[in-house]
């Protein structure tokens, strides 16, 4: 574990040095990412300035969802997005063997050598929105609430991480994967809206089958203090189960790559 951390730190500092070689480009990318990150809150503003909004959700509450989603997806992508893209690229070029000749389990190695500094913009947007909205929500925040929401925020990151692992696994299992990436992210984006808006079946699917409700909805619920301990534990288990599924798929994928060559 320590060795992994040291390796990650080494790689992350190389990544930083490499990005800094093109300072202007880096700052422009950052600005570009902020522009994209702003679209979420912008949609919230446009909805609420032109209509009464979503039933059961005030403007601030809806904005909170956007912020939580950005923060969780940004954090996860910071650690895992390059892994997904590099895996897909290397498998397409038949190049993945170089990574298999490393003295570390491929997934650990892939994650240790994956840092996406551009995600800092997304994380920043998420934090800013949450910081702006929290005081306006007037919530009674007990320590338990904060602990619960942090836990579920972590589970949200786990969810997005699992998504990235699944997509990377698909690179091994299927060939043309770029469009699948977009499909997954598009489905994940429905998590920006309260899952209750999707009806009873929708909510169930988005909690148990493709648990994108973990991305923003449930962390928000934890902040509002409406989740019981049992529910929080159940949700955490779902997240970890999803992760286990993702890792299993990855292992299957690696085995397929090794038997089918490049």
């Amino acid at each position: 574990m320590l060795r992994w951390l040291r390796l990650w730190k080494n790689w992350a500092s190389l990544e930083l040095a490499s990005q800094m070689a093109y300072k202007w480009n880096f700052f422009l990318k950052f600005f570009g990412a902020i522009t994209f990150g702003v679209i979420g809150p912008l949609i919230a503003i446009l909805i609420y300035t032109n209509s009464k909004g979503i039933p059961g959700w005030s403007f601030e509450q809806f904005l909170l969802l956007t912020g939580l989603f950005s923060l969780a997806s940004g954090l996860s992508a910071f650690f895992s997005m390059p892994m997904t893209f590099h895996t897909i690229e290397k498998v397409r070029e038949g190049d993945y063997d170089v990574d298999l000749v490393r003295p570390m389990r491929p997934l650990s190695y892939a994650l240790a050598t994956s840092t996406d500094l551009d995600q800092l913009a997304e994380i920043l947007v998420g934090i800013s929105v949450i910081a702006y909205v929290m005081p306006k929500l007037g919530l009674q925040l007990a320590a338990a609430n904060i602990a619960a929401s942090l836990l579920l925020l972590l589970m949200a990151v786990v969810f997005f991480l699992s998504l990235n692992i699944i997509i990377a696994a698909f690179a091994f299992l299927f060939v043309k994967t770029y469009a699948l990436i977009d499909l997954f992210y598009e489905v994940a984006k429905v998590g920006k809206n309260p899952i209750t808006a999707y009806g009873k079946t929708g909510s169930l699917l988005l909690t148990y089958v493709f648990p994108v409700g973990l991305a923003a909805f449930y962390p928000a619920q934890a902040l509002f203090g409406v989740l019981s301990l049992a529910e929080i534990l159940k949700l955490s288990l779902i997240a970890l189960g999803f992760l286990a599924f993702a890792i299993t798929l990855w292992e299957l994928g690696i085995r397929k790559y090794q038997s089918a060559g490049g």
Partner: protein, 264 residues
């Protein structure tokens, strides 16, 4: 004519090579619009009014479906292609005038778009009609829409080409590309109909070319403009195309002067 035709054929082949991705995009669009459908049903339900920002529920759904269709139609990868060619210092960029240089790429793009239309747009229209209540607004509007859409494809191409030329002055170009794409997706009306924005912003949008690549064609289809306005918009599209082409030529000359000597 065989030169252009050859380029178009290449574009068609290119699109066919990505056919699975394109077909998958239909699924992706269904998910995306489907989420909006459910969300907006709830919003309209709560609002109790039949019109929000001047759109009925059906009209808004029509907008979102058309937005996906027009966005796919007008999308291009020119900034990426151009910036890569410039970075690699392909000899072509130094010997050929920009019109000639982009000529091949343009026709290849057209070929690609023709294929896109059949693989994505046409099925998407069907999906829109069956699932989301896409409205048919009459043959007149359809015709006017087609003209504006074609102009929009050309306009977006030329716009991207101009932005792509900036790669002459920057070593890494992804930053500018992202910023441009971010603003483009908002200002063009792809993310949201521009009528949802405050008047102040709508005024600003009208001075920029972006809204003419997606928003204006869709509004033309929806019949939101009178005939005179529609024709006026087409003229503005044409004007932008000409202005941008002049800008491209000027910037190209500048780049050639500055970099030819150094050897690129």
């Amino acid at each position: 004519m065989s030169f252009e035709f050859g380029a178009m054929k290449l574009g068609i082949k290119e699109a066919l090579a990505w056919k699975f991705s394109l077909m998958l995009w239909i699924v992706i669009s269904i998910v995306s619009i489907g989420a909006y459908y459910l969300l907006w049903s709830a919003i309209y339900g709560l609002s109790g009014q039949s019109l929000i920002a001047g759109y009925s529920f059906r009209e808004l759904m029509t907008y979102f479906v058309m937005s996906e269709i027009v966005q796919t139609l007008t999308w291009n990868n020119v900034i990426m292609d151009l910036s890569q060619k410039i970075r690699r210092g392909s000899l072509i960029t130094q010997l050929v005038r920009p019109v000639e240089f982009l000529h091949f790429d343009f026709w290849q793009h057209i070929g690609n778009r023709v294929m896109q239309f059949w693989i994505y747009c046409a099925p998407m229209v069907l999906v829109g009609v069956l699932l989301f209540g896409l409205k048919f607004t009459g043959w007149a509007n359809l015709l006017l829409f087609t003209i504006t859409a074609v102009l929009a494809v050309v306009l977006n191409f030329v716009l991207s080409a101009l932005v792509g030329l900036g790669a002459f002055w920057m070593t890494e170009y992804h930053g500018i590309r992202w910023v441009y794409m971010g603003f483009h997706s908002i200002f063009s009306g792809f993310v949201f109909p521009l009528t949802f924005f405050p008047q102040f912003w709508q005024k600003i949008f009208s001075f920029l070319p972006f809204q003419y690549t997606i928003f204006v064609p869709i509004q033309t289809y929806a019949g939101k403009y009178g005939l005179l306005s529609v024709l006026g918009n087409m003229l503005i599209q044409l004007a932008w195309i000409i202005v941008l082409m002049i800008a491209i030529t000027l910037i190209w000359r500048r780049a050639m002067k500055q970099f030819s000597a150094a050897g690129g």
